[in-house]
């Protein structure tokens, strides 16, 4: 396939969902109504086919270029659509680090494709298609059916652009665009108070992260004099060939560390990492397909994608890498602990998502090729099995009339056999049981962290992080199967809200479940080809990490330990939640403090309420009072003067004609008196 054909595909993949969004928004409410899913599903199916073809094309290109001389690092190609901004001489006197940069602010609408982008595009469009099909069943009687599909298309467009732009400004633009879509979809049922509040919370918490990201972008510009990823005729891009071949040009020290930490702050917001993870559990107020698509499979992985993309920047700063790893491991462990005691099935899955994203960051933080590839592979497998779990939860919710509290449902395996089977596959994959996909990806991560615990900087920290990750493996198995057993096993328990709905979901919902279950089970087989493919991304082919390092490696003892941990967790869950309630309550009594911490989500919401919300509320109240009393008071005082004077003269307005006439006569006499004086 020629490069120009790849460019065409690259433009079409985001353009189709955008067109669908516009068409659905324009025709949905009047013309399409209950057929509003047609443009979206059609566009997403075409985009998926396009992504698959693109993936194959990139694969071919990579193989062809692989045999030649290695004067280029990795493989990528860009297509410039048009120039968005050209501001010459934007930087008065460029610092020496700019070297040959033109010191102008030039932003072109440039799309790029490399193995990383191709892989992300394929995953995003594929999962989005399945979830759009699922939504036709899940949302079928919603009055705002068309609005849902319009938003979903808009999101697919934004996400496709996010992973294929070649510029930090555009990355930021679409970073915000997916955030806006997330806000719109969390608050999809905006008349419900909790949903509106959750949307607002997600938006505000993300602002904190985006603030960091914006600062990082500005700092990158002042440091490198360009915001392009790729080389242009005028300047060497931040992640372009020129820089990668002379890695000493990357600015280290305080500035390098600041850029990385600010980027990580942005990633923390979008990917729900500690301490900015608080919005994701509340985001479950949105429709379940949205939780599956945006808040599990795609948008929340944008942070992981961004850090992977910026890996050359992180490589100059071991401290930043270690920070990423520590944040990841902390988040993984903490979210795992919280998930242990939540009773809302979707919340359990949300905390599980946070925990798994923590794994990905831990893996990226190792700063080795092994780790980065493992993180990206976990992103891919996690997208499949977590989307599967969320759709399964949605299927349960659909059948139970909106009830998702695992204390109120139980023993559903006979009524919902397909959901039960596919959910089981998802749970096993999440717990990391061989040979399902989760095993391979999680094991790669654990292997990379284990390896890092022996070589490189901060060895001791990484050793502890390895132990934390292993503990999280037990927790993952435990909370996953706790939710699974409570939902599908035990005595049958169906809430009254279910009515006559308590049956298996329609085919439009079960088919995506089956497809995702197959993917979640089988994606592990692609570990080796994926690794060999993805390392051809320029950012990952950086000689500082790519030389003499394998992209994947199997650690038998790590694999055995993690499998033992996972199986142990599952067995423990079975014993505690199916066999022996006494043992469970004994454990809860013994670990009272930890249980309360877990149950109350480590009191983070309360801490934020005291530290952030209350001061803001206080300030707002003071400002309100000042506006009402002082500003309005001045205006009221100015108004009072004419009012008082008017009141004095008001008594003359009696409405009697003769009084007016008399006053006229008196006035006349007065005038005459003055004139004849």
């Amino acid at each position: 396939m020629s490069e120009s054909f790849l460019h065409l595909l690259l433009v079409l993949i985001p353009a189709l969902p955008l067109a669908a969004a516009v068409v659905t928004a324009a025709l949905g409410p009047r013309l399409l109504r209950q057929q509003s899913h047609v443009p979206t599903v059609a566009a997403l199916v075409l985009a998926t086919i396009g992504s698959a073809v693109l993936l194959v094309g990139v694969w071919q290109q990579v193989r062809e270029s692989g045999g030649g001389p290695r004067e280029t690092i990795g493989w990528s190609t860009t297509v410039e659509l048009w120039s968005w901004a050209e501001i010459g001489g934007a930087y008065g006197s460029p610092p020496p680090s700019f070297r040959d940069a033109p010191a102008g602010f030039d932003v072109g609408i440039v799309l790029r494709v490399d193995p990383l982008t191709a892989g992300m595009l394929a995953m995003v469009t594929f999962v989005a298609t399945l979830i759009a099909v699922y939504s036709t069943g899940y949302m079928h009687d919603d009055p705002s059916y068309w609005r849902f599909f319009s938003y979903i298309s808009l999101f697919a467009f934004s996400m496709a652009m996010l992973v294929s732009v070649s510029n930090f400004v555009l990355l930021y633009v679409f970073w915000e665009a997916v955030g806006a879509c997330s806000y719109l979809l969390i608050g999809f049922w905006y008349t419900k108070r909790e949903a509106a509040a959750a949307g607002k919370k997600a938006f505000l918490v993300n602002r904190v992260g985006d603030f960091g990201f914006a600062l990082a972008v500005m700092l990158i510009w002042t440091t490198y004099g360009t915001l392009n990823f790729h080389d242009t005729s005028q300047s060497a891009g931040v992640l372009g060939q020129t820089m990668l071949q002379e890695p000493q040009r990357y600015v280290a020290g305080g500035v390098g560390l600041a850029i990385c930490l600010l980027l990580m702050l942005g990633a923390c917001g979008k990917s729900a990492q500690f301490p900015l993870h608080v919005w994701l559990p509340d985001a479950m107020e949105g429709p379940t397909p949205v939780s599956a698509l945006i808040h599990a499979a795609t948008m929340v992985t944008a942070g992981v994608y961004m850090v992977t993309r910026c890996m050359p920047l992180f490589l100059v700063s071991p401290a930043a890498q270690t920070t990423v790893a520590v944040i990841g491991a902390t988040t993984a462990l903490m979210a795992g602990l919280i998930a242990m005691s939540q009773n809302d099935l979707k919340r359990v899955l949300a905390y599980s998502t946070i925990s798994q994203l923590g794994y990905m960051f831990l893996s990226l933080g190792t700063g080795t090729l092994l780790g980065v590839v493992a993180g990206m592979f976990h992103l891919l497998t996690h997208a499949f099995f977590k989307a599967l779990l969320f759709l399964g939860a949605g299927s349960v919710m659909h059948a139970m009339g909106g009830v998702i509290d695992i204390e109120r449902i139980g023993g559903l395996r006979r009524r919902m056999p397909i959901t039960h089977g596919t959910f089981l596959v998802g749970c096993l994959a999440l717990a990391g049981i061989a040979p399902l996909s989760g095993f391979w990806s999680k094991d790669s991560i654990l292997g990379a962290v284990h390896e890092r615990g022996h070589h490189g900087d901060h060895v001791a920290i990484f050793w502890w992080l390895y132990i934390a990750a292993m503990v999280t493996v037990v927790l993952t198995a435990l909370y996953t199967f706790r939710a699974f057993f409570k939902t599908f096993y035990g005595p049958e328990q169906i809430p009254s809200a279910a009515g006559s709905h308590g049956h298996e979901s329609p085919r439009s919902m079960s088919v995506p479940l089956l497809v995702l279950a197959v993917c979640a089970a089988g994606a592990g087989a692609f570990l080796v080809p994926f690794s060999e493919f993805i390392v051809n991304t320029p950012s990952l082919a950086d000689p500082r990490i790519a030389l003499d390092q394998p992209a994947h490696q199997m650690h038998l003892n790590v694999a055995l330990t993690s499998t033992a941990c996972a199986v142990g967790g599952i067995v423990l869950a079975g014993v505690l939640y199916l066999r022996s309630a006494a043992a469970l309550s004994w454990i809860v009594r013994r670990l009272r403090g930890l249980y309360v911490l877990s149950r109350q989500k480590f009191f983070l919401d309360e801490i934020y309420a005291v530290l952030v919300v209350w001061p803001c509320l206080g300030l707002a109240t003071a400002a309100y009072w000042f506006d009402r009393r002082i500003i309005d008071g001045l205006v009221q005082a100015a108004v009072a003067v004419p009012l008082r004077v008017g009141q004095l003269l008001r008594g003359m307005q009696t409405g009697l004609v003769q009084v007016y006439a008399l006053l006229m006569v008196l006035g006349l006499v007065a005038v005459a008196g003055v004139l004849l004086r």
């Binding site: 008001r650 008594g651 307005q653 409405g655 009697l656 004609v657 006569v665």
Partner: protein, 148 residues
């Protein structure tokens, strides 16, 4: 010259008297028609003054103006009397104290003496012998209203 001046004095005296009578009448009387007559009298007092000055200055402009004033006053009288008639139809009363509606909202109405109630006899409509068939009432039209 001497007689011209004394003639002017006479004109002015009569004019002032007519104006004064009109003004007092306008201020003191409460019947709308009488008040209107008084206002006309004030107008005519000014007219007499104009005529006097016109003659004194040997300039006919003033007298021509007076002719116009009389014409305008006639029109005005037609309108004003029509208004008075309407007011009477409206309230059955010609007391000016009856219309105090333009006073400030929070002021009490000025009452020096109670205005006597006028009882209007119920109008007696002519009765006709019915002819032809009474049309059937359209229920749809009676119960359904397009505009509220």
């Amino acid at each position: 010259m001497e007689s011209e001046l004394s003639l002017l004095y006479n004109y002015l005296t009569v004019g002032t008297l007519v104006f004064g009578v009109g003004m007092v009448g306008f201020l003191a009387r409460r019947n709308l028609i009488v008040m209107f007559l008084s206002a006309e009298m004030m107008l005519q007092g000014v007219s007499i003054d104009l005529v006097g000055w016109s003659r004194y200055h040997d300039n006919w402009d003033g007298q021509i103006l007076v002719l116009f004033m009389i014409a305008v006053a006639a029109c005005e009288a037609a309108i004003a009397l029509a208004l008075v008639l309407m007011l009477y139809h409206h309230a059955g009363n010609l007391d000016v104290a009856f219309w105090q509606g333009t006073r400030e909202e929070n002021l009490p109405a000025y009452v020096d003496q109670e205005i006597p109630e006028v009882s209007q006899p119920a109008p007696a409509w002519p009765e006709l012998t019915p002819a032809g068939i009474e049309p059937a009432a359209n229920i749809e039209e009676l119960t359904h209203r397009e505009h509220v």
